[in-house]
Symmetry: C2
Subunit: 114 residues, 2 copies
DNA sequence: TATATCCTTGGCAATATTGCCAAATAAGAA
DNA sequence: TTCTTATTTGGCAATATTGCCAAGGATATA
């Protein structure tokens, strides 16, 4: 890896890191349906407001969401809906893993039956 | 978030976490071109063998790659090529962020020129 | 068997992430 | 202005990640 490659992969990793948390993935899913205020998301997630606010700032810094003030509230919106294709791929990996598990289990069953 | 939702988002986050590292993203890119032995990847990355081996085991545990022994070597192969669509999306986010930066800069230039 | 090669694992220190509480800030309402 | 609501920020302890070194398999070759 040369310097430029390192920079490229670091840039990618930084965005992926922003997604690498259950609450933040949940937020992305929720914002895909509609923009939401911090308070709404906080209630849906069931964590401290400050925690959710920090999660949102991680997503914002990564350029995944944008915010907009409306009165005292702050509305967050998903900026790149392609994030969801991404999640489709993750689901494929999960399914593939599950399939592998099932195969392992059925293999053991067969052997035990002999 | 109910219990099942928590489990779902945790499962997704675990796979995304496995991708959230520059060296591991590089490995995924390299394995997309062709399967590789640990030693080859180690040389390409320029880290300690043990470090690369641990990165590979993270990817393997997440179900993103598979390994296969060949003599003393261990060949790793990308299991889910859809991972790359995923990276396409990440590139979109990076480009979008860059665009935003350019806009901010050009805005400042305009003001400075007045 | 001995020896070399390739890879994984254990251990550990440095660093980063997470989530809560408390305090600060922002904006509208009284 | 003062009060209230909505959100962000600072601080901190608990936890997780990272990367090196050293040691431990596993497999081929002499």
């Amino acid at each position: 890896m040369n310097q430029n490659e390192v920079k490229l992969y670091e840039a990618r990793a930084n965005i992926i890191k922003a997604l690498a948390h259950p609450s933040r993935l949940y937020i992305v899913d929720m914002l895909n349906k509609q923009p939401r205020a911090v308070g709404e998301l906080t209630e849906m997630i069931g964590a401290d407001t400050s925690t959710v606010s920090k999660h949102l700032s991680v997503l914002k810094n990564a350029g995944i969401v944008v915010d907009e003030k409306r009165g005292t509230a702050v509305i967050y919106t998903l900026k790149c809906p392609c994030i969801l294709d991404f999640i489709g791929c993750i689901e494929e990996v999960i399914e593939s893993n599950t399939k592998t598990q099932v195969e392992i289990l059925s293999c053991c069953k067969t052997r035990a039956a002999r």
